[in-house]
């Protein structure tokens, strides 16, 4: 009989930090002591606390072992599994109470979270359909197909207030209604898993940790609008997600939960995976469908909207992964349950990928209306290394940088837009005082310039010119007149670009101009980068009091820019200095000042 379960996180984060080696080691140790029939290893999806990977939770005790190494496995098996003694030194420190384990749900990271879309991530083995079924999986589909009419499904969704989690927040029920009412023999249901925002990885984690939820929800959508064929468009950069989804589709077909005549209802639905090929613009709905059709993934003007004329010119519903993950739960638990969470305009929860300069990097799901402060400080554990918080960036290249003054704004679709950012798909990157805001704006514009598909001029040329202006400023050639030019360009790009990529591309510039104008001024007027990031504006000088005249820097300088005699403080010739940083690396006395 199985008496212990080892839940081993096998999401991309933990795979990268070496969970396969842990799995092999623990399996060997279990075998060595003959516990194979009593202990079961479950490879789960993401627990969320990626910074602590590889992660292992052993039940029934619920002990959370963090940053496990292969050589720790013998101790875990010998002590914990054989003798029943928890290995305290490997526990996640927040779970170590005075005399007993603190429940994981009471730790700072998990306390304020509410997991709906991530419900089963880290709970089940995503490669076994029975585990999903064991947690009410496919029950919502059964209910829909046997008890509800398509209109009733759409009404329920409309009443729930669910809005698209991919960025724009369009009401999902309304989208389905348009597609249901659209005329057409053939209709399609698509899933947007082309998660391109740098720093966002919730869709990947859901596909890796709970792929059946997406299959179930897409089948429900197909029933509601009258479609019989669907596509999941996944980034090729997510190999684990693709494999797990393939396995899940195969298993669902074997169980008769996908394919023809599901639940003997006469309704059938077929699902296929299509891989992206590395074009950010394909996250835009019309571009995504053009790509599935086998073309260059360029967007096209709307209307007609996909609900009327989408994939292969047929009515199509396209939702994002996280949106789909909510749907079976809404059907099972009802609209009152769902609307009890969130704000006036945004119901339910939102998953954020918390990254950058924050202690608890990982995936968090919180009710809409949670403040940035709660997410960054309480859940995220604040900025590490005693550094100061500077800004939080949401919405990727379409969003903006939010300064500390807006820390207490409750986050929902409207509020984020009001403070010059946007929800986007939910990337939340924390930046500390070492980040230069002009450089960050330039970073995002560099991204958009490369990813602009080139179809419309405002985006193709406009973003390039914006980038050039920012480059001019960060290289020390900025002029005051550049402010007006930036502003004018931004507004022209917003008003005249064809798709959301161009329409939102100026947001990183506008938000940093709005909140961090002093940094732009420092670059333009004082020719100085306050964060010490922009290389062209850096000056290397030798601090006289600290320099003992050891000549090490002088000998290592590749351009002979440093002069001086033994035991006399040296001097850097600014004209010769190429800012290669060698002197800083070589100086043992911290005598070189870089600013």
């Amino acid at each position: 009989m199985i008496r212990s379960h080892i839940m081993l996180c096998s999401g991309t984060g933990c795979v990268a930090s070496g969970c396969h080696a842990i799995s092999d080691a623990i399996e060997a140790e279990i075998k060595a002591v003959g516990l194979e029939s009593e202990v079961k290893i479950v490879h789960t999806g993401c627990f969320g606390l990626c910074a602590l990977g590889p992660i292992m939770i052993i039940y029934p005790e619920g002990s959370f072992y963090a940053q496990v190494k292969p050589e720790d496995c013998k101790e875990i098996v010998d002590e914990h599994l054989l003798k029943g003694r928890i290995v305290k030194r490997l526990l996640y420190h927040e779970t170590v109470g005075d005399d007993k384990l603190t429940n994981l749900s009471d730790t700072g990271f998990y306390k304020k979270q509410k997991r709906i879309a991530l419900r089963l991530c880290g709970v089940i083995d995503p490669e076994h359909i029975d585990e999903y079924i064991g947690f009410n999986g496919y029950e919502a589909l059964g209910k829909v197909l046997t008890e509800m009419k398509p209109e009733e499904v759409i009404d329920l969704l409309k009443k729930s207030g669910l809005r698209g989690r991919g960025g724009a927040g369009f009401p999902t029920g309304l989208k389905w209604e348009f597609a249901a009412k659209a005329k057409g023999e053939q209709k399609y249901v698509c899933c947007n898993a082309d998660e391109g925002d740098p720093g966002a990885f919730m869709d990947r984690s859901i596909l890796e940790g709970d792929p059946h939820a997406i299959i179930e929800a897409m089948t429900i959508a197909a029933y509601a609008i009258g479609a019989d064929k669907g596509y999941v468009y996944v980034r090729a950069e997510y190999p684990i997600a693709v494999t797990r989804l393939e396995i899940a589709i195969k298993q669902a077909k074997e169980y008769g939960l996908l394919g023809e005549n599901i639940f003997e209802s006469g309704f059938g639905f077929d699902l296929e995976i299509r891989l992206g090929a590395g074009a950010f613009v394909c996250g835009e709905e019309t571009a995504l469908m053009t790509s599935i059709e086998g073309n260059r993934g360029e967007p096209r003007p709307r209307p007609p909207f996909p609900a009327v004329k989408g994939l292969f010119n047929c009515p199509t519903v396209l939702n994002n992964v996280e949106t789909y993950a909510n749907i079976p739960q809404i059907i099972l638990n009802g609209t009152d349950w769902f609307t009890s969470m969130g704000t006036e305009t945004s119901k339910g929860t939102k998953v954020f990928a918390l990254g950058g300069n924050v202690t608890n990097v990982g995936l968090v799901e919180v009710p809409m209306g949670t403040t940035l402060r709660e997410i960054v400080e309480e859940i995220g554990g604040g900025v590490p290394g005693g550094k100061k918080f500077k800004a939080a960036q949401t919405g990727g290249p379409s969003g903006g940088c939010i300064p500390a003054e807006h820390f207490d704004v409750p986050i929902d679709f409207e509020q984020l837009t009001a403070i010059g950012s946007m929800m986007g798909s939910g990337g939340l990157i924390v930046m500390d005082e070492d980040s230069c805001m002009v450089d960050i704006a330039k970073y995002f514009l560099g991204f958009t310039v490369e990813e602009s598909c080139g179809k419309c001029t405002p985006c193709r040329i406009g973003t390039k010119r914006l980038y050039e202006l920012l480059d001019k400023i960060t290289s020390g050639n900025g002029e005051m007149s550049d402010f007006d030019m930036l502003d004018t360009l931004c507004h022209h790009i917003i008003s005249s670009s064809l798709c959301a990529l161009g329409q939102t591309a100026p947001n990183p510039v506008l938000s940093t101009l709005n909140y961090f104008k002093d940094e732009y001024l420092a670059h333009i007027v004082e020719k100085r980068c306050p964060a010490g990031v922009c290389k062209d504006l850096l000056r290397y000088t030798i601090i006289e009091e600290k320099c003992i005249g050891c000549t090490v820097c002088l000998k290592n300088c590749p351009t002979n820019a440093i002069t001086g005699a033994v035991k006399v403080p040296h001097v850097i010739n600014q004209e010769k200095c190429i800012k290669c940083d060698v002197c800083v690396e070589k100086c043992k006395f911290n005598a070189i000042l870089k600013q």
Binding site: G53, G294, I440
Partner: protein
Amino acid sequence: MGVSTIEFKGTKEQENLLKEAIALNKDREGALMPVLQAAQNIYGYMPREVQQMVAEGMGVSLSEIYGVVTFYSQFHLQPKGKYKVHICMGTACYVKGAGKILERFEKELGIKDGECTADGKFSIDGLRCVGACGLAPVLSVNDDVYGKVTEDQVPDILANYKE
């Protein structure tokens, strides 16, 4: 057209694999992308000769194939190195110093982002977010993933791939 500077050395075996992939997909709706992805997997890159074969097999013009291939960043007109260094340039990695790590690789190998060393051993590519932000900055060399990398580790990482 981006003419490959390296001589094309496709084998009969590879050609047969490509023909199989075309036959398998040809009648599916929107088959071109899966076929191109298969072609790149078989040959490792997409030189003109391979594009020509796909064009003929699919009954599509070469210019259309070229248009699609050059649109997506995962199709390469030039071959990549035996060891493909991929450095994540997502925001989380960027704010944790991915730019400096890329620079260091460029310096150590004497090539720029997107290029391949003359001996065909290493290529460097800055990547869009790989979604492993918890380990930022992240990079991979073929299938080996390195997390929380510092600039100083770059020579040691490269030393793992001597063969």
